[in-house]
Symmetry: C2
Subunit: 338 residues, 2 copies
């Protein structure tokens, strides 16, 4: 008896482990995309994710949410994402000065030159980047990355210096402890930032590092089952979730489909085998984008977001009450009989 | 030029990824141990860690901090820890009632019977556990696990029922959303809890899911280097950390050793090779225990802990100022010359 249940329990644990973290991170990444108002986003999280496989999950989840590249080369290879190598402060420091560092980097990567300009003094760093870009006559548009200080003010300074030097197509990238709130403030200030590198806070889903989600047994051997633990009551029976713009309905799968609603749950496994090949990432990205766009604006708000209303069907409520009564009666009979 | 630096950068990223998370989780786990005041602790985090390798790191880090077992069987095998399988609510629900579930479990695991008693009603669950333990005349002491509700009150109720049934050596385990603060409150209330299962909040280091630690280049080709980025200035040169009960001193490695202090940094790699076999886990556990015991009580406090004071040596301050002046002068010369 215990062996098959133990196997199911392990599957439950592994699945829950995967699903809850990926959902948390994809949500945080989607909030960054919504906050950025059209600016591009790049995943910089690898350094501080909670392990290596978390870094892979973060790269994939943030790509689904709309990030355009990742600094995680292994993840880029595995999932077919765009790798965006970053210039490190240690690279700059290994040279006598920034000009020498920028020159060496641009000679190795002439088409991918985003110069990190804040190692010593950001204004001087931008001037050094301009000098190198002009001297080497780099083919593509250059970029500068600001990683510390007052990013809005420094972005304006950098934009002015670059424009004055005739580098109007140079891009400005901002990074350094960013999350959706910092990005929204920078975007609202009108700072001329073309792209954001988002790392730690997105990569560990810093303000919601876990979802209190669960994975519950709802039926066994054809019998609906329920857990009544204080504050953690579960709902019995196989479910379907019906969605329409006004909100979701949680119903039993055996109920007739609700007209005007989309049924969200689809079978993906049967008898231990997947029913279809994994979806391409592009299809998942499109669905994520469409689902976000279909949310009520209040549910997409960065602050005080209003949850989408969820209604429980009458049949589900009735099954829950009946199952709870049944088990309490059986339990009472047994305890009285001891 | 860029290739070796890129390799160093990857090593930096992977190392930082490992060290920061393990430090965060070991700290959180150590705080749980301090809060539990002698009660035992078991790692229940696997379900909600940020990936599978994070779950392994959590099992290891919490064992180092003093946890006595883990529900993560893979981690127990890998690190030689004690595996503590848990009974799931789904296991109970798969039977007609709790007596049948407890009986099946106890027949399969007669020496390891910790009954999960809150699936339907905790009082009845404890009575069912008592009935099964008596009927089967189980060889070892039984346990009951409380996973919801008012854990202090339910622990008192369970203790009374167990004692009245003559099961004075039965153990009471509490779990469900616990962290060091909840454990400290339960311990302070005098609740008769023998062990705590600690999961999610410890496993993701929920209130400190990342450490803002860094890994910086301090010298290159014999030359000390520095980063001056606003708010992120680094300190140049190879360091040593000297510790004594009153606090730490951060000094240059070339300074003469500080009398009465312990030097904390030891070489572990040279020319890409480890200098010794990895330490056994037991040695790391002992060092962790001794280091925690040696902390000033105010630094060990759960609330408003006071950091251990860190003094910077005069030589290090002087090198930092000199290196900063040098690089600013070089940078100014170059920018002026463009």
């Amino acid at each position: 008896m215990t062996a098959p249940v133990a196997e199911a329990q392990l599957a439950e644990t592994v699945l829950l482990n995967h699903v809850t973290f990926q959902t948390a991170v994809a949500t945080k990444a989607a909030r960054c995309v919504l906050a950025a108002g059209g600016a591009q986003l790049v995943d910089f999280a690898f350094r501080r994710t909670q392990g290596i496989d978390a870094s892979l999950a973060v790269a994939r989840a943030s790509a689904i949410a709309g990030f355009i590249a990742t600094s995680n080369v292994a993840a880029a290879r595995r999932y077919g994402l765009t790798a965006a190598g970053t210039m490190a402060h240690s690279f700059i420091e290994a040279f006598e000065d920034e000009q020498q560092a920028f020159t060496a980097f641009a000679e190795d990567f002439p088409g991918k030159t985003t110069f990190l300009v804040d190692t010593y003094d950001t204004g001087r760093g931008v001037r050094a980047a301009i000098e190198v870009a002009r001297r080497l006559r780099l083919p593509g548009p250059v970029g500068v990355r600001l990683d510390s200080g007052d990013l809005a003010a420094l972005a304006r300074l950098a934009r002015t210096l670059l424009d004055d030097a005739g580098l109007r197509d140079a891009r400005i990238v901002a990074s350094g402890g960013l999350d959706e709130y910092a990005i929204a403030r920078l975007a609202a200030s009108g700072a001329p930032i073309d792209a954001y590198g988002v790392g730690t806070k997105m990569g560990v889903s810093a303000d919601a590092p876990y979802l209190d989600s669960a994975y519950k047994l709802v039926a066994y051997a054809g019998r609906p089952v329920i857990k009544l633990s204080a504050g953690k009551t579960s709902a019995p029976g196989a479910k379907q979730v019906y969605r329409r713009p006004g909100g979701d309905v949680l119903a039993l799968r055996e109920e007739p489909p609700l007209p005007g609603h989309e049924a969200l749950l689809l079978p993906v496994m049967r008898d231990g085998r997947p029913l279809a090949a994994p979806e391409p990432l592009a299809a998942i990205q499109r669905r994520c984008h469409a689902a976000l766009a279909a949310l009520p604006p209040a549910a997409r708000a960065l602050h005080d977001a209003e949850p989408v209303p969820v209604r429980i069907s009458e049949q589900l409520k009735s099954l829950r009450d009946r199952t709870a009564r049944d088990i309490m009666r059986r339990t009472a009979d047994r305890t009285a009989g001891t």
